[in-house]
């Protein structure tokens, strides 16, 4: 049995695929960005945030140890992910925040959030680097500061069509 298990392990090693997909609903919409503008209250623009309840204007250390719940479907991970919020500019000059819709491919009840993918390179190749899930990573922000976070994602889209 032991040799069978070894043979199976060797067989799987050749075709291993690593990928993870899950949905997260909105935990908050705030002018906060602990990655790009740590400590700034408010940050320069609005973000939609999903994930764990340890999100704050300043985040340090292992967020997984600080959170107690999350809006993502995997309750073992309290990472946060956030994006810039998009606005529609009305012809009269006013702005309206564009709502985020549910990903219909995910279970019901995940409203107004994101779909997170962790992949090696893509779903069908083994990639060229190992995937490591849910461990704190050292992150260089755009100012060259290195900090330890679980995984914080910030996205800033370009302003608008002109």
């Amino acid at each position: 049995m032991k040799s069978l298990a070894l043979a199976l392990a060797l067989a799987l090693a050749g075709v291993s695929q690593g990928a993870l997909r899950f949905g997260c609903s909105t935990v908050s919409i705030q002018r906060l960005d602990p990655l790009v503008e740590p400590g700034n209250i408010p940050s320069a623009h609005v973000h939609q945030i999903v994930g764990g309840n340890a999100f704050n204007a300043t985040m340090s250390g292992d967020i997984g140890e600080q959170g107690t719940c999350t809006t993502c479907t995997f309750s073992e991970d309290f990472s946060n992910y956030w994006t810039a919020v998009m606005y529609f500019k009305h012809p009269n000059g006013t702005y309206k925040r564009v709502p985020i819709m549910q990903n219909a491919a995910l279970p019901n009840g995940i409203n107004g959030g994101m779909t997170i993918y962790y992949t090696q390179q893509d779903f069908n190749s083994n990639g060229n680097q190992k995937i490591t899930a849910f461990k704190p990573v050292s992150c260089n922000d755009q100012f060259g500061h290195t900090k330890l976070i679980t995984i914080g994602i910030s996205y800033d889209g370009w302003k608008s069509r002109n």
């Binding site: 990655l35 994006t83 985020i100 993918y117 992949t119 995984i151 994602i153 996205y155 889209g157």
Partner: protein, 68 residues
């Protein structure tokens, strides 16, 4: 870890942010093409933004819909 830049204000600059793309959804299963710019016409299924972080880490998809 970030994708894109808030000071990007031209299409040429946007194309260089290869991690940030938009998909005009016909329905929930539409995934391509990934555009560097906003779609120029209405998208029946909404607009999906795709953020490709370094491939071994993550990419995430966000679905946007203008409701009226």
């Amino acid at each position: 870890m970030t994708v894109g830049s808030p000071v990007t204000d031209s299409l040429d600059a946007a194309k260089k942010h290869v991690g940030l793309r938009f998909v005009c959804l016909t329905d929930k299963n539409t995934r391509f093409p990934e555009l560097p710019d906003f779609p120029t016409k209405a998208c029946k299924g909404g607009i999906m933004t795709v953020h490709h972080f370094p491939s071994w880490v993550i990419h995430l998809a966000i679905y946007l819909q203008i409701t009226n």
